[in-house]
């Protein structure tokens, strides 16, 4: 009896439709978020993330409606993010049915946002998303969908984010994202060992072995993927059976 490692499908949306593409380039339609959410809810996903990757101001009502319709389908937790810059934005997202809020660029630009939201909703509701790229001797934090460099070291930023009130880290390897060459296990392990909160690994997943590596060597608490689930290249149930057979605690529906 111990905490199960979580498998989390991610819906990257343009506000209303799930899209696929590496960092805004060559975006193409990958389905209806409500249909996908309903499917993942019964297939054994442990949680769902829905992101507004465009995060255009005028588009907010559309994204909130998407959160509302997705939440209606779920009996598992839902995290939502993209373009949340204030307590006001966060209240709207939580009011639409999200259990957790993910923060990325806005938290880098104004770190106090983490504490403001954490005090209102609790640390368990605040996910700090960190996009990190390997440099010669450290991992650099990137913002705006991974395109823009910052001066932050990912390990320092993760520790700081937790001190400020984040209850979870969603860690994406910019180098691996979209490559399907496996999670960045050393990045995940480094971050997981420098913070006291759970870490969700993201970027690069293709085959069950990749998940096994990131849960064991990478010490991840959860792992996130998008297109391999959307396109049915990988079933969640088969993935979990593989992990269980290899000694990783997972939740199999019973």
């Amino acid at each position: 009896m111990s905490l199960a490692h979580r498998i989390i499908p991610c819906l990257d949306t343009d506000g209303s439709r799930v899209v696929k593409g590496v960092h805004f380039e060559g975006l193409r339609d990958a389905g209806d978020p409500v249909e996908l959410a309903a499917r993942y809810n019964v297939e054994g996903a442990d949680e769902l993330v829905v992101l507004d990757i465009a995060a255009v101001r005028d588009n907010r009502p559309t994204f909130l409606e998407t959160i509302r319709r997705v939440a209606e389908q779920l009996s598992i937790p839902l995290a939502a993010g993209g373009g949340i810059r204030s307590l006001h934005d966060a209240r709207a997202v939580v009011g639409a049915g999200a259990d957790k809020i993910t923060l990325n660029t806005a938290a880098v630009e104004r770190p106090d946002l983490i504490g403001e939201l954490s005090r209102e909703f609790g640390a368990q509701a605040i996910v700090l998303a960190i996009d990190a790229r390997r440099e010669t001797d450290f991992w650099q934090v990137r913002v705006r969908g991974g395109r823009v460099a910052t001066t932050l070291d990912a390990q320092d930023w993760a520790r700081r984010g937790v001190e400020l009130g984040a209850g979870e880290i969603l860690l994406t390897s910019v180098d691996r994202d979209g490559t399907q060459s496996g999670f960045d296990v050393s990045l995940t392990s480094a971050i997981s060992h420098c913070v006291s909160v759970p870490v969700i690994a993201s970027g690069g997943a293709k085959i069950p072995q990749h998940f096994l590596e990131v849960f064991t060597t990478g010490s991840a608490d959860a792992a996130l993927a998008a297109s391999i689930f959307h396109e049915k290249a990988q079933s969640i149930r088969a993935l979990k059976s593989f992990l269980q057979a290899n000694g990783v605690e997972v939740r199999l529906p019973c």
Partner: protein, 201 residues
């Protein structure tokens, strides 16, 4: 079945209400003292900070009506913070008193494990449980918390462990509580809520 959800302003009433409506319950959400006293069955959901819950109960003058309703044996289910609020006090809100219906203090989970305790975990049964009736002992439930109730007395029907054992399912007469979120716990969570509705009917 008519259920009154206590909406003190900082909880996740929407998802709990949705889960209950799926089971056919008639749900009303309120922060009015009178409606608590008149309720057939009460649920106190909770996420976030314990101080927010307790001070909000006081700000809406809900503490006494809630205690009155429980004294009349109105069936009650506390979820997450809603369970923690039943104890005498919580380390998370040291300046405020809990509802004091159960002895003991809610304390922080040990620091040798990842905090918050976040995700799906299993239970260990201590007593026969009405809430867990018909649910596989292997079932997982969704937890998201950093503080937890002690294991004490005959009320602790099932425990969970994360750094230490804590009360995960509480049953004492008409008083029920769960540390996890049944509204986010898939089929076993729905079954637990269904069991509560049946007990309360």
């Amino acid at each position: 079945m008519r259920v009154t959800l206590i909406d003190y302003g900082a909880g996740n009433v929407t998802s709990v209400a949705r889960a209950l409506r799926r089971l056919g319950a008639e749900v009303s959400c309120t922060n009015r003292p009178k409606e608590l006293t008149a309720a057939k069955c009460l649920i106190l959901p909770g996420v976030g900070h314990c101080a927010a819950l307790l001070s909000s109960l006081d700000a809406h003058a809900l503490r006494q009506p809630l205690l009155d309703a429980l004294a009349q044996a109105t069936p009650f289910l506390g979820i997450c913070l809603g369970l923690q609020a039943l104890y005498e006090s919580s380390e998370e809100a040291p300046d405020l008193s809990g509802l004091g219906l159960l002895q003991g203090r809610v304390t922080h989970l040990p620091l040798n494990v990842k905090i918050p305790h976040m995700g799906w975990n299993q239970l260990r049964s201590l007593h026969t449980s009405q809430l867990l009736k018909g649910i596989s002992p292997e079932a997982y439930f969704y937890f998201a918390h950093s503080y937890a109730a002690p294991v004490a007395g005959s009320g602790s029907a099932a425990v969970c462990a994360h750094g230490r054992d804590f009360t995960a399912v509480l049953e004492q007469d008409r008083l029920f509580g769960v540390q996890f979120h049944p509204e986010k716990s898939g089929a076993p969570g729905a079954k637990l809520l269904e069991n509560f509705l049946r007990i309360a009917a």
